[in-house]
């Protein structure tokens, strides 16, 4: 049976995504990622001083080189910290940076911050990121760079990206906390209808999604915990 992936699964379960599983990612999922990255970036730059203070407090328990880490590890730790502090959108940005190879950002980090060592002090990394996003207004194109990088990786792994004409889908939705989930479900429903698919699975990491998906009877939601 065809299995669609949601945003959470795509980001958190990257290591589980294999070609033989008959997996499909809709373009709507990528659109949601772009939207969330844009929001996360905006908040990161707006609340930078507060976020830097989190970094200071969290890492001040270590001294000197014991504080130094690989940037991916710092991004992972920051994502957890920010989630815990209620900055879910910024946490999402850091999770994506931790899990995926974002072209340009990674290359730039290698050339500058990681020139002499594979580990960096977190305060340098957070300031580096802020400067990278602000540099020549990189924040405007970064969401597209993220989506391009994820797209490329999916293509390399031969995962189908289903392009959905979503013009009316997003606009028809009223606001609400599950708006992005309903949008993804509507996209899947449209794809299934257009391709005559009677039933499909929807893989997610979100425990609330089965409730949102109840009206979509032919989409079976499977909640997977990839963090464990």
């Amino acid at each position: 049976m065809i299995k669609f992936l949601d945003v959470g699964y795509l980001i958190n379960c990257r290591h589980k995504i294999k070609q033989e599983d008959n997996l499909v990612v809709t373009s709507c999922v990528l659109k949601v990622i772009r939207h969330k990255i844009k929001k996360g970036l905006h908040l990161f730059l707006e609340k930078f001083e507060i976020i830097r203070d989190f970094v200071k407090k969290y890492y001040s328990i270590w001294n000197g080189k014991r504080r130094w880490r690989n940037p991916k590890k710092i991004a992972e730790e920051m994502a957890q910290r920010l989630e815990h502090k209620g900055y879910a959108d910024v946490a999402f940005l850091f999770t994506v940076i931790a899990r995926y190879y974002i072209r340009d950002l990674e290359e730039h980090t290698e050339k500058t911050l990681l020139q002499s060592s594979s580990k960096v002090t977190p305060i340098n990394y957070i300031v580096y990121l802020r400067n990278y996003f602000k540099k020549q207004r990189n924040y405007l194109v970064f969401p597209d760079k993220v989506v391009d990088s994820i797209r490329k990786e999916l293509q390399q792994n031969n995962i189908e990206i289903a392009e959905i004409d979503d013009r009316e889908l997003w606009l028809d939705l009223d606001s609400g906390t599950d708006r992005e989930d309903r949008y993804q479900l509507l996209c899947i429903e449209k794809y299934m209808r257009n391709h005559g698919i009677p039933e499909a699975r929807f893989l997610t990491t979100d425990h609330r999604l089965p409730d949102t998906a109840q009206p979509f009877e032919n989409i079976k939601v499977e909640v997977v915990d990839c963090q464990a």
Binding site: R52, K56, S60, G64, R67, I123, V127, R130, K134, Q136
Partner: protein, 199 residues
């Protein structure tokens, strides 16, 4: 020519003056001469500086113009000895900022710059850190494009960065001497970091 003079005295100014890094180069005497000229420029600008970044930048440019003939003499000597002053200044600035950004420089009381950044809530220090990281990022990037001589746009950008580096140091000194308050210093430094990263 004033552009080259600005680069010669400006690049690495914050690292050298603020954190006492030193150019590792056999032409050290000539660089000391440039450092002396830089200090005279900084002193002159500092004496008549207000709070406005644009005004400070303009005063720096004027002072560099005035000192350009003296700076040019040093640059001519460097060229005679086979050095490319702009490339040397750039490479040196990259090394110096890489050194400062290791953050292991002792800042007194047995503490390193890294300790201070994590422990303190010093907004001025935070802004200086942002500026040094921004300068380092820019210099690394320009250094790549200047591998076989700097194209005009890179040279122009270096001139701008050199002036902003000197302006940062002037603002910092004004704050240290309590000629401007913390809020004004942070606002001015914020303006500088945005300008550095603007392109």
């Amino acid at each position: 020519m004033a552009g080259e003079a600005a680069v010669a005295v400006g690049l690495g100014a914050l690292a050298e003056e603020g954190y006492s890094t030193q150019r590792v180069n056999e032409l050290v005497q000539l660089y000391r001469r440039l450092q002396e000229l830089r200090r005279r420029i900084l002193q002159e600008v500092e004496e008549k500086a207000g709070e406005d970044v644009a005004e400070i930048v303009s005063n720096i440019a004027t002072a560099i113009q005035r000192y350009a003939p003296e700076i040019e003499k040093v640059l001519a000597e460097l060229r005679r000895l086979g050095a490319d002053p702009m490339k040397a200044s750039l490479e040196s600035a990259v090394e110096e900022y890489a050194e400062v950004l290791r953050l292991d420089i002792q800042v007194g009381g047995g503490k390193t710059l890294e300790d201070l950044l994590y422990e303190s809530q010093d907004e001025v220090l935070d802004k200086l850190h942002e500026i040094m990281m921004a300068l380092y990022m820019e210099y690394v990037e320009i250094n790549e494009t200047c591998d076989r001589g700097c194209p005009p746009e890179a040279a122009q950008k270096l001139e701008k960065l050199a002036t902003l580096e000197l302006a940062t140091y002037v603002i910092y000194k004004l704050f240290q001497r309590q000629k401007i308050d913390k809020k004004t210093a942070v606002a001015a430094l914020n303006e500088i970091v945005d300008e550095i990263l603007s392109g």
